[in-house]
């Protein structure tokens, strides 16, 4: 952080009162690039607004991201502490790896044998036509380390899909959300898990309720913290072995 400006400025030429709520000046309050400092009232408004907008327009992924940031004030420190207390998690916090197309060696991952984390991850990206670079950087988290934690959670999301074997359609996303809700306790995941099914057909809802969700919850409870795995160092590890190690039950 940087030093605060004092309020000793001369009276503004328009003679207005000195008191004025100001939310941002570039370079003075930003704790990390892209950070927008917000007051508690703004966070509350953002949380409410983004929740409504995300329900109204599910394609507004940025709203889901904002909801996560503005409601994560309890869950994020919790996650950060879990990471700090685990040797691998601690290393991740120190080294701050990022999962982006520029840091991944796609060629090497594609060349790995089938069934390995790297190969299956790339397959997942190709099959669902997604890229790790579309994750929103955090804006409203007022702590630089917690901002990294939420960024890491977002970037690891695709790996969750891979480990759980879930596609990126609505059903798959909801299942992953249930798993993440149990794992992270992030209110955004809980809300997503609870409200996501609203847009599913009855048939899918049935499968969801009877098989997928119970499995996701059991796995979530059984598994160790998913943010404590240094995925970038385990590309060669077979997915099944990694699942066993973490404690995720085989997908139905």
């Amino acid at each position: 952080g940087r030093a605060r400006l004092s309020s000793s400025e001369p009276q503004a030429r328009h003679g207005r009162s000195e008191e004025e709520e100001v939310e941002e000046e570039e370079g003075c309050y930003q704790l990390y690039p892209g950070h927008i400092p917000t007051s508690p009232l703004q966070k509350a408004l953002l949380a409410a607004g983004s929740a409504c907008m995300a329900l109204h327009d599910p394609y507004r992924h940025d709203m889901v991201a904002v909801l996560g940031e503005t409601t994560g004030c309890l869950a994020l420190p919790n996650l950060r502490d879990k990471m700090k207390n685990h040797p691998e998690g601690y290393r991740i916090l120190q080294e701050r790896p990022r999962i982006r197309l520029s840091t991944l060696d796609m060629g090497r991952l594609q060349g790995l044998p089938d069934g390995t984390l790297g190969r299956e991850y790339v397959r997942f990206l190709e099959d669902n036509k997604v890229s790790p670079d579309t994750r929103m950087p955090p804006k409203f988290v007022d702590d630089e380390e917690l901002a990294y934690v939420i960024q890491r959670y977002r970037e690891v999301h695709d790996l969750m899909h891979t480990l759980l074997g879930m596609p990126t359609n609505m059903l798959g996303e909801v299942v992953v959300k249930w798993f993440e809700a149990v794992q992270t306790g992030l209110p955004m995941c809980v809300l997503g898990a609870a409200f996501g099914p609203v847009r599913l057909s009855t048939r899918k809802l049935q499968v969801l309720a009877t098989e997928l969700v119970p499995w996701a919850i059991r796995s979530g409870r059984n598994a160790s913290c998913i943010l404590n795995i240094y995925y970038e160092q385990r590309w060669e590890q077979p997915v099944e072995s990694l699942r066993e190690e973490i404690g995720i039950f085989p997908p139905p």
Partner: protein, 311 residues
């Protein structure tokens, strides 16, 4: 760590003054005369660039955001502007920074309805004519539903003009409307051309207001009228506090939720605070050569309409 310095609720006055110059001096000293972009200090070139980007970014959601931020009241303000203008058929209007066409469409509607009333009155006086003569006079008047009135919408931003043209097409406005890409500080028009010049919620974004006012004077015909609709300063202290609270707490949030763009709306509320108040703007308009300059506050000064004449 940095959490202790987190400014969640700092109350700070940040405008003008030595402290700002200090902040500003860190940014290129070489690059030219300094001005403001919201509460930041930037060079004039940087300001023009940033403002262009703001409007490029907000263009598609401009109208939706206006409705959300002002709860639809901006429509009333614009209606009042056009009523004050009271254009008669045959008026040539230049609407600068007219972007998405709100003033232009209102002008066309107004002139059309005035024209219709004119025609109705004419009909009533001609009730002694034969059926044939009456229907012949329809033919003549049909082609002049606007009565030769024209509006030229001029904006510096391609995206805003694009949205305006699409809107015009969608709403069915075609005749009497032209779209020109141009800079308010240096208009691409000849001297003494227009009957009325309007700039609604645009002059705040101009970097050299004095130049824009001079250009306005130049392109108006003698007898022409200058009208400016813009956010201004609220005198009432209670209302002012509520307005500030709403502006700084709610509007950027609306920007983020509706348009996915916090920063542009943060700029917007800051730029309103930076803009000269009513009397100062009046003086600037007089400096440009206009006479009978006056202003009308709307909603206790949240918005003001300034008017002047070229004699």
């Amino acid at each position: 760590a940095a959490a202790g310095l987190c400014p969640c609720r700092t109350l700070l006055a940040r405008r003008g003054g030595a402290l700002r110059a200090l902040c500003g001096s860190v940014r290129g000293l070489a690059a030219g005369p300094e001005t403001h972009f919201g509460f930041q200090t930037v060079t004039e070139e940087e300001r023009r660039e940033k403002i262009y980007q703001v409007f490029e970014s907000v263009a598609k959601k401009y109208d939706v955001m206006n409705d959300s931020m002002t709860l639809g009241i901006h429509r009333v303000w614009k209606d009042i502007l056009v009523h004050k203008m009271n254009p008669s058929p045959g008026t040539l209007l230049l609407d600068v920074a007219g972007g998405t066409g709100d003033i232009a469409f209102r002008f066309i509607n107004y002139v059309r309805s005035v024209r219709e009333r004119q025609l109705q009155r004419k009909l009533r006086h001609h009730q002694n004519l034969s059926w044939q003569e009456i229907s012949e006079s329809y033919q003549e008047d049909k082609s002049k539903s606007l009565g030769d009135s024209q509006v030229v919408v001029c904006d510096i931003n391609k995206e805003m003009l694009k949205v305006g043209k699409q809107k015009a097409q969608h709403l069915g406005y075609s005749e009497g409307l032209s779209w020109v890409l141009g800079n308010a500080e240096e208009l691409p028009f000849d001297d003494d051309m227009f009957d009325v010049y309007t700039i609604a919620f645009g002059i705040r974004n101009v970097t050299r207001i004095d130049l824009a006012l001079q250009e306005a004077y130049r392109v108006l015909k003698p007898g022409g009228r200058f009208l400016c609709l813009e956010f201004s300063h609220v005198n009432n202290p209670l209302l002012s506090r509520l307005y500030d609270l709403y502006s700084f707490q709610v509007i950027p949030v609306l920007g983020e939720v509706i348009a996915g763009d916090w920063k542009s709306y943060q700029y917007l509320v800051e730029s309103i605070r930076r803009f000269p108040p009513q009397e100062e703007l009046k003086a600037m308009i007089e400096d440009a050569g206009f006479f009978k300059v006056d202003y009308q506050n709307l909603n206790s000064g949240i918005v003001a309409i300034h008017s002047g004449f070229k004699l």
